[in-house]
């Protein structure tokens, strides 16, 4: 078998596809994650997403190798040799898988090596790696089975296209919250940044792993039951593989069917595999800057702290030192700003962590709006006109447009609110600061009309 494998490795088609695989890797979430914050959960998820490109290609390569006998009309000759069809063609499949796994290992090594070098918190998640590798093998086995059963020059491209479409459907099912879709290796259902804050089990990758391992066996097993596949031993192996594969794939689907997605915590939970403590907050020591109002982020996001602090500084510099205003802001996966024990917790705009450089645009404006509203009024429904005007004034002074997105209410500010906001923002900064110092308490405790603002 080793001799055949060595020969198949030498003559396999996959090495010719490596440049294509590299391009697909780079245009996939893998490529984008390299330029994003070095966060282990994010990188683990990106690795799985690479399957959208790599899976179909490796399935096509396996189908091409497996359909070789029919294409080259060697069946007549090869049937007269001692090896049965199953053990004759498996080395070709193994060679395809080994080349693909070598590429995937190199890609994983690069991504995880880079992350180990730059990540500020956490450790490598290995379960997504195992699930990715298992799914990759499942594509290889499925491609091999297709190629072995069908003949023709177009089997390989059609297999690749079919695998891609299947992945798109499975990924869509998963990302739209259909429980059985959780077996899909692609499709975002969890939030890798939110998941930093909560203890997460290995539920989801474990289910994906079980399902993929089942698919490998289900793809290879029936091939051993065909007429010229081999002798009684091969048939027995085929029966065992088919039975265990069907059971494993079925178990994976069933477990996924019981799963649910906890969007708030960015994790998926499979109750049967859930261990005690899953979903509980993970203790950590935040990384903080030394601004007038301290900005704190999760230590895994430490690299982006200067950019985050710079984004909110136009707001914090205006409000620092005011009586009753928190002296520290924590970015956390909360729904809205709230003050607890003198610390303001604000929602972290996690999409900002997928980029490098200064936080700009909508993410920055949203961050400043949450910060301004939170520092002034904590948890606030945004309905009071005077408070609206106060928040907008701070944002206008910070250089942001006073549009509807700045307020936690539906609809834009009324003309009276806008006029009051512009009046307050137009005051010299010391005067505005002084006005807030004297009026913040009444603003928080009573309902003032907008014209009460200077």
């Amino acid at each position: 078998m080793m001799g055949l494998l060595r020969l198949e490795l030498r003559r396999n088609v996959t090495p010719f596809l490596l440049p294509t695989l590299a391009v697909l890797l780079w245009i996939s979430p893998y490529g984008r994650s390299v330029t994003a914050s070095a966060v282990w959960t994010r990188r683990g998820e990106a690795l799985q997403e690479t399957l959208l490109g790599l899976g179909p290609v490796i399935a096509g390569a396996a189908a091409w190798t497996a359909s070789r006998e029919k294409r080259a009309r060697t069946g007549e000759l090869l049937v007269s040799t001692a090896r049965g069809g199953w053990s004759r063609t498996l080395p070709g499949c193994a060679a395809t898988a080994l080349w693909g796994l070598a590429f995937l290992s190199a890609a994983t090594g690069f991504l995880y090596g880079l992350t180990a070098h730059t990540a500020s918190w956490g450790s490598p998640p290995w379960w997504p790696v195992a699930a990715t590798f298992a799914a990759f093998l499942a594509f290889c086995a499925a491609g091999h089975a297709t190629g072995a059963m069908l003949s023709g020059r177009f089997v390989a491209p059609l297999t690749a296209i079919g695998a891609f479409l299947l992945l798109v459907v499975a990924g869509t099912l998963k990302s739209t919250g259909v429980a059985v879709g959780l077996v899909s290796p692609v499709g975002q259902v969890t939030d890798p940044y939110r998941a930093l804050f909560y203890r997460t089990g290995h539920d989801l990758p474990a289910v994906e792993l079980i399902f993929a391992a089942g698919l490998v066996a289900v793809a290879l097993g029936p091939l051993a039951l065909r007429g010229a596949a081999g002798g009684p031993l091969v048939r027995t192996a085929g029966i065992i593989l088919t039975a265990t594969g069907t059971a494993a794939a079925g178990a994976g689907l069933w477990l996924a069917g019981t799963g649910r997605v906890d969007a708030g915590r960015g994790i998926a939970v499979i109750p049967r595999l859930e261990s005690r403590g899953d979903g509980r907050p993970v203790p950590y020591t935040p990384a903080c800057d030394r601004g007038p109002i301290q900005i704190c982020v999760h230590p895994a996001l430490k690299a982006r702290l200067p950019d985050v602090a710079a984004a909110v500084r136009p707001v914090t510099s205006q409000l620092a030192g005011l009586p009753g205003v928190p002296s520290r802001i924590d970015q956390r996966p909360v729904d809205g700003p709230h003050i607890t024990d003198g610390v303001l917790s604000v929602p972290a705009p996690f999409d900002a962590y997928d980029k490098r450089g200064p936080v700009t645009g909508r993410a920055a404006r949203s961050m400043r709006a949450d910060t301004a509203a939170g520092l002034l009024f904590g948890a606030w429904d945004g309905t009071d006109p005077a408070r609206q005007a106060a928040v907008l004034a701070v944002l206008i002074a910070a250089g942001d447009p006073p549009d509807a997105s700045a307020l936690p209410t539906r609809g834009g500010p009324t003309p009276a609110v806008l006029a009051a906001a512009h009046r307050l923002a137009a005051l010299p900064p010391p005067t505005r600061h002084q006005w807030f110092a004297t009026h913040l308490h009444p603003l928080r405790t009573t309902h003032l009309p907008p014209n009460a603002l200077p």
């Binding site: 080793m2 030498r10 080259a72 060697t74 007549e76 000759l77 049937v79 007269s80 040799t81 009684p232």
Partner: protein, 247 residues
């Protein structure tokens, strides 16, 4: 006897391609002659265990190919050159022959020397590292012969082995056949009666799935004395026997 058949029949739907053939062949070179559609290729395919017989008894190398273990053992000791040799165009000559040697379960340690020897025997030593796609039709036929003899088979089945070979190569090939026939059973199906005359100890003539003549080339030649059509004695014997069969 390396090949023993009794009432061997192979049908494709209603048509009997091989119709009750009885054979007992030991070591030596056995030529199988016959017109197109006579059943030569079907008989060779049955003997190569590619297709099972529809009826009759078959024993190869003293074993019954109906059982998996025995069939596997036969295939280890078998060499087969099909009429239409498929090949992997990206493989080199050595790789293709090595591939078949490995599929024949040859011990790995023996494979490199056996491959080199087989490639030399067919005169392709200087093209051993060439990709198959770069070879001419005659060279590919020789690759086919090399893969058939790589395991030093006890039963060698060759279907039209000299098709596409030039006269010099055919002479070399006959020498190779005679050498193989010293210790193995070589059954060669061909339309070229001069190959049979030059290399075969025994000859069988098939017509409509039946074996209508078995004997030595000299006996076949004698059957055509003064009657048959053809330029050579064997050709005259060949056409005389066929004419008798048809009448």
């Amino acid at each position: 006897m390396n090949v023993e058949t009794r009432g061997l029949t192979r049908s494709f739907r209603r048509r009997q391609a091989v119709a009750g053939v009885d054979l007992r062949i030991g070591p030596g070179v056995y030529g199988l002659l016959g017109p197109n559609g006579a059943g030569k290729t079907s008989l060779l395919r049955v003997l190569a265990t590619v297709i099972p017989p529809s009826a009759g008894d078959l024993r190869l190398l003293g074993r019954d190919p109906a059982g998996h273990a025995e069939r596997r053992e036969i295939r280890r000791r078998l060499g087969y050159l099909p009429q239409d040799l498929g090949y992997y165009s990206g493989f080199t000559v050595v790789e293709f022959v090595e591939y078949i040697a490995l599929l024949k379960d040859m011990p790995r340690a023996r494979v490199p020397r056996a491959v080199a020897s087989a490639v030399e025997d067919v005169g392709l030593g200087n093209r051993a590292r060439s990709k198959l796609r770069t070879l001419s039709g005659g060279m590919l036929r020789r690759v086919g012969i090399a893969q058939a003899i790589v395991n030093e088979p006890e039963l060698l089945l060759l279907d039209e082995p000299t098709a596409g070979l030039d006269p010099e190569q055919r002479v070399q090939f006959r020498t190779l056949m005679r050498r193989m026939g010293e210790r193995a059973t070589v059954i060669v199906s061909t339309h070229l009666v001069e190959d049979v005359g030059a290399a075969c100890d025994q000859v069988g003539l098939m017509s409509d799935g039946r074996l209508v003549f078995t004997g030595t080339p000299a006996e076949l030649s004698a059957r055509g004395a003064g009657t048959g059509i053809g330029d050579a004695p064997l050709e005259r014997g060949y056409s005389a026997v066929l004419a008798e069969t048809r009448t």
